[in-house]
């Protein structure tokens, strides 16, 4: 059975007709040519396909595209604003939080979603105080990113990247460190 749906992907409306059995990941990659989410397993085991669906992180290989009709999908590519990488992307770059980079778009979407959850005060399994604001220490970072595999083993630097990203000065203005004179090159 086919269905017509519209996904809002990285800020653009993308109408598409597809077999209702198509996953969100396949819809993005094979139908809409949005290849920033990667397919590392197609079974919800690796996290490489992580995107933000209406602001929440999801593994897009485990969701049917038809269930996302009308939803907002943000991939790693969509986190770039006006040519400027997102602060989390910057932090990964500067801390060398990757090697081959295959897991990276998923790691970054996962990290962005995770920072939102922390900001909203959602406790994780390792949070001390279930009522107060969450302090994002290394233990929290590792717990909250444990769904994203990195075979290159860049974990030490991923933790460092997110540790920097959540340094107190940046909590209110996540873009604070971005100097306007710097232009990203692609």
């Amino acid at each position: 059975m086919n269905a017509r749906i519209t996904l809002r992907v990285d800020g653009r409306d993308r109408p598409v007709a597809l077999d209702t059995r198509t996953t969100l990941l396949d819809a993005l990659r094979d139908r809409l040519s949005v290849t920033s989410p990667k397919k590392g397993c197609d079974h919800g085991q690796c996290g490489a396909c992580t995107v933000l669906l209406d602001g929440r992180r999801v593994v897009s290989c485990l969701i049917l595209a038809v269930a996302c009709d009308g939803s907002e999908v943000v991939t790693a590519q969509g986190l770039v604003e006006e040519g400027e990488p997102h602060p989390v992307q910057r932090a990964f770059l500067e801390e060398d939080g990757f090697q081959c980079g295959f897991c990276t778009p998923g790691q970054i979407c996962s990290a962005v979603g995770m920072l939102q959850e922390v900001k909203a005060g959602h406790p994780s399994q390792v949070t001390d105080d279930l009522t107060g604001p969450v302090t994002l220490d290394d233990e929290e970072i590792r717990e909250r990113l444990s769904g994203n595999l990195c075979r290159c083993g860049a974990y030490v630097n991923i933790v460092a990247a997110l540790r920097e990203e959540t340094a107190p000065s940046e909590e209110t203005s996540p873009r604070a460190e971005t100097s306007p004179s710097e232009e990203a090159e692609s």
Binding site: Q45, L79, C100, I108, V126, S146, C150, C152, Y155, V156
Partner: protein
């Protein structure tokens, strides 16, 4: 614990801004973090077809017939190919082994062996068509006993030429006589399970038929030119009819050294006249590449009471599966490094690589040295116990150093400060003890079901010695073309090699070298393809050395050209001139002008091959020979908490001390040590392809576990720079040594915590609780 240096703001607009020694950013990093870097699985061309591969469900069977008619009739299917359609040579094999069928005929020798190919207009159609290919098999009992394959002449043959791919002995002194001298004898049998590279980006690529009858291939590989040497003959095409471009590589770790879908996609493209893409899924990927050889090892050491080893008697059996792949070279490594960096006057080593119907094995990070390292380091701990020494001291007592000989007789020609490195590792601060009142601190984390009554701490050490670059007389070289010209008013160096960036940061390093050697700011790394000479493989930790060396020498040749121009223009002697920051500088007179002015319209282009010092083969009887081009050492100290009741292990901290000769890029280097340590951790406590009667039981990331960010502990790194005088910039290859030493260090720490013998990796919970 924070061991990362504070982050200074960086100019990401000029990635890789620095020269040799700078922690330059990756030139491909911006694309990678933005999700815009094209991996081989992202390739797309309108009108392309999708290829799929039918694989044998049996580890061993005769193929009686193949009927493709029903599959061919399936709507959407363009073609179905079998061995009859292989245009040229029917076999391939990495590095001139030529024993692996492109598509199986007569017999299948391992589960997952490719038999037929389909091209269809949708990947699901292709997969469904595979189900309609009818194959009649006569199923045979698989031959899976590596020990019998090595020694039992009555064991049936997997390969007609016999079941032993290579037997490499090493003989030093007289082991039998030395037995008389030994005051202490320790022995053990050790096993290493089959590890998978499990790179995250699956085997994939795109083949586009060309008008000249050739094919354009875009693939993720480790060694383009060796691929070509196999693809050309199998397709019946001259090499110049195959244009190969490296696509984004999502990790490799040895698993892309052998061909996977390259010939298959090209065959489908040539047959249909359409571009064909093949992407393996994760399940297929577990069958789509070779794995790390599982090993069975018997060791016996004799020593004097003070812990000095007087003899070693070693037998190593490596199961290579059905085809040769890299088995012979893996055996060479295992044999030459079987006793590691220890000075032992009497040695008898026999290393065997055998054929079985188990999954095929070949290159994986550490390449034969990993298996031996687990065994000899386990032996060092046994020896320490037997002599009442601590594990660091027993290693120091027997440590090799510059000037001492490996078991092969090769004299270590560069600094090898092993005893000091061990001391450093021992003296690093220890992590805080576990807070048993806090579940989060315990093995198993918040899933812990106890109150930590059974949690014990352990500390262990491991030392790994890895050969860098290709060994045993192989003429190992790399090629680089460097072109300097003025573009947009600026001098730009273009660096062109066929070397594969697989995540190790080679492209960063190439740019750093060009900046240092040429004194220019802008460097463009051209896509790796076969329009330039062979770069060799991105393996054996060799690319910094080999392709780094090639880029360095090509740049130096270009610099010579610049110097000639500058000498003529400015009337200065050449050796008074240097180039830096885009300027021509005279030592006596300061800045003379810009490189851009000097060059004008001139283009200077040079291509250079870089060879390392020749090595020799190993004598087939004694194993003697100067077989290695470089050696690199890593020492690990592991701290673990083990829940002895539940069998759970938490690696609390890994500390590594590694001598890299010279740091070319600290950040990238640290990443390599982290990554190698992580894969060693995986082998120590979780990673194994479980094979039962030739069949893989766990081909998924649910059942084949690789370390997550929770499993990976914080790391302390101590990096030494004792230059190897033979190597470019004095560097030592750094990708593999940490993979060797982290496994035995972690297992030693578990032994320390539990008092168990633990002779097999990965260590499983049931090995700790004794419930298996």
């Amino acid at each position: 614990m924070s061991v990362a240096p504070a982050r200074a703001p960086r100019d990401i607009a000029a990635p890789g801004g620095g020269g040799v020694g700078d922690s330059a950013l990756r030139p491909d990093g911006v694309l990678k973090v933005r999700g815009e870097f094209a991996y081989s699985s992202d390739l797309w061309i309108d009108g392309m077809l999708w290829g799929a591969t039918l694989r044998s469900p049996h580890p061993r069977a005769k193929i009686l017939s193949i009927d493709t008619s029903e599959a061919l009739a399936h709507p959407g299917v363009w073609t179905v190919l079998t061995h009859e359609d292989v245009p040229g040579r029917k076999h391939f094999g990495v590095d001139h082994t030529w024993d692996q069928p492109v598509l199986a005929f007569d017999e299948v020798r391992h589960q997952g062996e490719p038999i037929a190919l389909v091209a269809a207009d949708h990947p699901e159609t292709a997969r469904r068509a595979l189900e309609k290919i009818r194959i009649e098999y006569e199923v045979l009992e698989p031959l899976t006993d590596a020990r019998r394959a090595a020694f039992d002449p009555a064991y049936p043959r997997v390969q007609p030429r016999g079941n032993v791919a290579r037997h490499q002995p090493v003989r030093v002194g007289d082991v039998d006589a030395a037995r008389e001298l030994a005051e202490v004898v320790v022995s053990g049998e050790f096993q290493v399970g089959m590890q998978d590279q499990a790179f995250l980006g699956p085997e994939s690529g795109l083949a586009i038929p060309a008008e000249d009858g050739g094919v354009d291939l875009y693939v993720a590989t480790q060694w383009m030119h060796n691929d070509l040497e196999q693809i050309g003959p199998c397709l019946g095409l001259a090499e110049d009819k195959i244009r190969m471009t490296l696509s984004g590589v999502g990790g490799a770790f040895g698993g892309r050294e052998d061909l996977s879908m390259q010939i298959h996609a090209a065959m489908l493209a040539l047959r249909t006249g359409k571009p064909v893409k093949i992407v393996y899924n994760r399940y297929e990927s577990f069958f789509g590449h070779v794995h790390r050889h599982p090993a069975q090892m018997r060791y016996e050491y004799g020593a004097t009471k003070d812990g000095r080893i007087v003899y070693a008697d070693v037998e190593i059996i490596l199961d290579g599966g059905a085809y040769t792949s890299s088995t012979k070279n893996v055996v060479g490594n295992a044999a030459s490094l079987a006793v590691g960096p220890y000075v032992i006057p009497n040695v008898r080593i026999d290393a065997y690589g055998v054929y079985t119907n188990n999954p095929p094995c070949g290159a994986m990070r550490g390449f034969g040295a990993v298996q031996a390292c687990f065994a000899f380091e386990s032996m060092m701990d046994r020896l320490a116990d037997a002599c009442g020494l601590d594990p660091v001291t027993v290693r120091q007592v027997n440590a090799a150093a510059e000037g001492s000989a490996l078991a092969t007789g090769q004299i270590i020609w560069a600094p090898l400060p092993m005893a000091e490195m061990l001391q450093t590792a021992r003296e690093l601060p220890m992590p805080a003890p576990a807070d048993t009142g806090d579940l989060r601190d315990l093995p198993g984390g918040v899933s812990q079901t106890t109150h930590g009554e059974g949690v014990r701490r352990g500390v262990g050490y491991g030392v790994g010695l890895k050969n860098i670059c290709f060994s045993e007389g192989y003429d190992d070289y790399s090629t680089a073309r460097v072109r300097l010209e003025v573009i947009g008013g600026e001098p730009v160096a273009m660096v062109h090699t066929a070397a594969a960036e697989v995540g190790q940061g080679l492209v960063t390093l190439e740019a750093q070298i060009a900046r240092t050697e040429l004194g220019v700011r802008r460097v463009v790394i051209q896509p790796a393809d076969n329009r330039v000479g062979d770069a060799g493989s991105s393996s054996a930790s060799r690319q910094s050395y080999m392709t780094g060396g090639a880029v360095m020498t090509a740049c130096q040749a270009v610099r010579e050209g610049m110097a000639a121009l500058a000498a003529a223009r400015f009337g200065h002697a050449r050796d008074d001139l240097s180039f830096t920051g885009d300027k021509v500088v005279s030592e006596s007179a300061g800045v003379l002008g810009t490189i851009a002015e000097l060059l004008g319209d001139a283009v200077i282009e040079e291509t250079r091959e870089y060879h390392h010092r020749p090595t020799t083969g190993m004598d087939p009887v004694t194993g003697r020979g100067d077989s290695h081009a470089q050696l690199a050492l890593c020492v690990h100290r592991a701290v673990v908490d083990v829940d002895v009741d539940l069998g759970l292990v938490k690696v609390v901290e890994l500390a590594a001390v590694q001598d890299v000769g010279r740091i070319l890029n600290r950040v990238a280097l640290e990443g390599q040590i982290h990554g190698g340590s992580a894969q060693g951790l995986g082998l120590a406590v979780m990673e194994e392809i479980v094979v039962e009667n030739g069949r893989v039981r766990n081909p998924s990331f649910t059942d084949y576990l690789i370390p997550t960010i929770l499993d990976m502990p914080p790391m302390r790194l101590e990096i030494l720079e004792n230059a190897d005088p033979r190597a470019p910039y004095g560097l030592r290859g750094a990708g593999e040594p940490s993979t060797l030493s982290s496994t035995p260090a972690i297992v030693a720490a578990i032994r320390d915590a539990t008092g168990l013998a633990l002779t097999r990796v990965p260590v499983r919970p049931e090995h700790i609780t004794g419930s298996s």
